[in-house]
Each structure stands twice: as structure tokens, then as C-alpha cells.
């Protein structure tokens, strides 16, 4: 499989027009995401994180600026099929069981795989996500967290070069979350996948990422870009390091400092 692309975001702005007026979701964002990095975005609710991921996946046209994959501007056809997207909602197809939901991405983006291979791959990921025995269940027969896990499996199963993950673990219990975090890291280290990850959990961001971009309240701008230096594997002990606490405090300070702005920006 070829290498993940170098992603550069240049002067990106997105505004939504609606009957009640125009909402500026993103304002002049510039970021570089190196191939194979684990890049996390944190920021207050409504600051445009999801909007940014949608632009990166090619499904939303920006109103200004551009996104380049290896120097080439993404028009729809370029990115599609390279990015695995875990939406904030699980967004499963209600008429397909868990197994068939996971196979969806491979049906569309990996036409080279045989049906048997797709099914084997799908079962493999469901097992990792602790869903063995639930393959034939329909989404409405699964809990919210289980649905989200199916949705994560679906994105991982077709082995995209870029993984866009919008708060993928938010709805999960502590243990499942840790298992999936470890699996994600293992996958990320084994392959050359670039991960762009959104979370509201500062410890999660520090444990997983190489870089963190902290965004301001709407319209979203990048306040600061932080390199996370801790050696891997990052474990419980990592959380105890004084540098870890200091960095978490710094990010929290950036987010908190901006809260009053969020209130007035409405």
C-alpha cells in the first residue's frame, strides 16, 4: 500500500449560509499534517472541528482557502477512498447487521477484495472491538457504545491511508476505550496511516498524539500547536509524569481562557 499523503491546509475558511444568517465555522486555518503522524484537534464545542474533518474528507467544499494532499488540491475525486471517516454519530445502516455494516466500506473502497476476504476482515475487526457473537445483530439491537464500535471497525477495516476520527471513543466505557485506544495505536504504528483525531479529553489527546492543535471558539482558529514528546508506549506511569500534568494544565488553560469569547461569539 502506498504512503499516506502529506496534508497541508492553507487559509481554510468555511461559512454556512442559512435563513437566519451566515455562520462562520472556520476562519483562516492553516495546518500541516505530516504523513504517518497522529494529529489531535481539541477545542470548545461548536468551534468547527467536525467541519474541518468534513473538508479533509472531501465531502464539504470550503468557502475559502484550500487543502492539499501531497501538494495537489483535493477536489472530490482525489481524496475519496483514501480516507476512513468515523463520524461523531455512529451512522450505521439500520437495515444491515453489524457484519454487513463493517463490510460496506470495503464494498465501496476496496473492490479488489473478494467477498470472503471482506467478511474475514470484518469479523477480525469486530472481534478486536469485543463484538464477537454480535455479527448478525441489527443496529437497533445494539447499545450506543456498541454501535460506535461497529462504526470504528467499519472505518478501520478498509485500511485507509488517512483516518479521520471525530470523538470516536466518547460514548464508550473506560475499559473498552482503553482497548480500542491500544488497538488504534498498534494499527497506527504498524502501518503508515495518518490519524487526525478529535477529542474533548485532554488526557486522551496527550496519551495518543504526536501533535495537538488547540482551537479557539467559533469561528475556529488554531490557537497553538503542541508537540507531545512523551516516549511510547505511554502507560499509566506516563500520566504521573510532572511534564504530563504541566502540559495538560497548559491545554486546559488555553481552552478555558477562551470560554468567555465563546459566549460572546454567538
Amino acid at each position: 500500500m502506498s504512503k499516506a499523503p502529506h496534508i497541508s491546509i492553507k487559509g481554510l475558511s468555511v461559512s454556512f449560509k442559512s435563513r437566519t444568517g451566515t455562520v462562520n465555522a472556520l476562519n483562516n486555518i492553516s495546518l500541516d499534517i505530516a504523513p504517518g503522524s497522529f494529529f489531535t484537534i481539541v477545542g470548545p464545542s461548536g468551534c468547527g472541528k467536525t467541519t474541518l474533518l468534513k473538508v479533509l474528507s472531501g465531502v464539504l467544499q470550503p468557502s475559502g482557502g484550500e487543502v492539499l494532499f501531497d501538494g495537489v488540491a483535493i477536489d472530490k475525486n482525489k481524496v475519496q477512498g483514501q480516507v476512513g471517516y468515523v463520524f461523531q454519530r455512529s451512522l450505521l445502516l439500520p437495515w444491515r447487521n453489524a457484519l454487513d455494516n463493517v463490510m460496506l466500506t470495503m464494498e465501496v473502497a476496496r473492490r479488489d477484495m473478494s467477498r470472503a476476504d471482506r467478511e474475514r476482515e470484518a469479523r477480525h475487526w469486530l472481534k478486536i472491538a469485543g463484538l464477537e457473537g454480535f455479527e448478525k445483530r441489527f443496529p437497533h439491537e445494539l447499545s450506543g457504545g456498541m454501535q460506535q464500535r461497529v462504526s470504528i471497525c467499519r472505518a478501520l477495516a478498509f485500511r485507509p491511508k488517512v483516518l479521520l476520527m471525530d470523538e470516536p471513543f466518547a460514548a464508550l466505557d473506560e475499559i473498552t476505550r482503553e482497548t480500542l485506544q491500544e488497538e488504534l495505536l498498534r494499527l497506527w504504528m504498524q502501518t503508515e496511516t495518518t490519524v487526525v483525531f478529535i477529542t474533548h479529553s485532554i488526557p486522551e489527546a496527550l496519551l495518543l498524539s504526536e501533535q495537538i492543535a488547540v482551537m479557539s471558539a467559533r469561528p475556529g482558529r488554531v490557537l497553538e500547536r503542541i508537540e507531545v514528546p512523551f516516549p511510547r508506549p505511554r502507560e499509566e506511569a506516563t500520566r504521573e509524569l510532572p511534564e504530563f500534568g504541566a502540559m495538560a494544565g497548559h491545554v486546559r488553560g488555553l481552552l478555558r481562557h477562551r470560554e468567555p469569547v465563546a459566549a460572546t461569539a454567538q
Partner: protein, 257 residues
Amino acid sequence: MYRVGVTVGQILVFLLFFAIWEGIVDFFHIKPVILPPPSRIAEVMWEQRALLLTNTWPTFVAISLGFIYAVVTGFVIAVGIAYSRIVRELTYPFLVTAQILPKIAFAPLFLIWFGFGLTPKIVIAALIAFFPVVINTAKGLSSVDSELLQYMDSLGASGWEKFTKISLPWAMPYFFAALKISITLAIVGAVVGEFVAAGEGLGYIINASNISLDTELMFAAIVAMSLLGIVLFLVIVAAERLFVNGVEENGGVQATM
């Protein structure tokens, strides 16, 4: 255990209904020409089984063809409405207006246009069965979760893949809800067609026995008609079970005759 009890109870309610009917006719000595008892209707159905069966066929053909025409054209136009703004804006006002018109009132006109026989029956059946299919299917196709379509875009899905893998299954519950209404409307259409423009079929028997005051035969034909209707309805329900997975019914239906 509970379900079995309910089913038995439901059958008992039907039996009770027929028993009361039988009792009332017997007690008040109601003439068979006014209201025959269920036992007599059953007898007549058996005596006239050849007549009823030969006349069920043309009615069945009219209903089925009318229904199939309605479903196919309705579906195609619904796709047009869901995917083309021009089609939507041109046809929608017309559909909404036609929806509230008493289309059944055109039946005698179709006798003039299409003559006597199968054609006017099919046309009336198709005409009234058509509207729920268009309106409901268009509603289903245009209510697809837009983020699901975005998800498919992110995978590089083609328009055809989005249609077959997302929009079509999404609209299926709406489509089948419409089919259940449409089949009953097609039955009404075919029978009315036979009232005004046919020399055979159960509707014709009902009408003819009405004129000759043969109430017993009329009831026998009505029961045969109802049985046919129930069978057709159950066929649709079975198809729905087969094609609609994992979703509770969510398709609302709008229909008028």
C-alpha cells in the same frame, strides 16, 4: 403464551360476530333478500363455486395489472421527483391537486374512452393506486440522512452506489407502506370498473345480482372479493418482511380515492 391467547381471542371475536349476525337474522326472521345469514352465504358460495371462481380471475387480473402499472410508474416518477429539481417543481403541484380529486368519479368516462372490458378496469385501478406510491416513495427517497450520503462520498462511492446501497433501502419502509394502501385502492378501482364497464368479474356479479335482487349471491361475491383482497394484502406483507430489515416501520402514508 400471551400471543397464542391473543390470536385465539381474535378468532373468537370473528366467530362471535358471525354468530350474532346469524342469531339476529334468525330471531327477527329477516328475509334473505335483505340480509342472508352467514350460514346461507357459505352455502351459496359452495353452490356457486364455479361461477365465483371463473369471475375471480378477471378481477384478479385487473387488480394485479392496475397495481403493477401504478407501482412501476409511481416509482419511476418518485425517483424523478427525488433527484431532479425540474421534475419536482413541475409535477408536485399537479400531484398534490390530483391527490385530493375524487378520481373514482372518472370511471364512467373511462367506459367511453376505453370501451367495455379489461382496459377501463385496469386504468381506474392504476389511477387511484398510483398516488400513494409516488408521494410516499418520493418522501422516502428525499428524507435520506444527508450525513449517510456524505459518508458514502468520503468512500468515493458513485451515484449509483449511493442510490442502491443507501437511498433505496432507506426508502423501502415508505415504499411498502404505500404498497399496502395501493393494493386496497387497486381493488376498489377494479371493482368500480366492473360496476360500470364489464361483463365479467366479481364486481360485475355484485352489480348484476343487485339488479336481480339476488342478495345471497351478492354477499357470496362480496365475501369472495374480500378473501381475494386479504390474500393480496398478505402477499405484500410477506414481501415487506423479506425486503425490509432492521427498521421499525416509519413510512407515513397519504392516500385518497
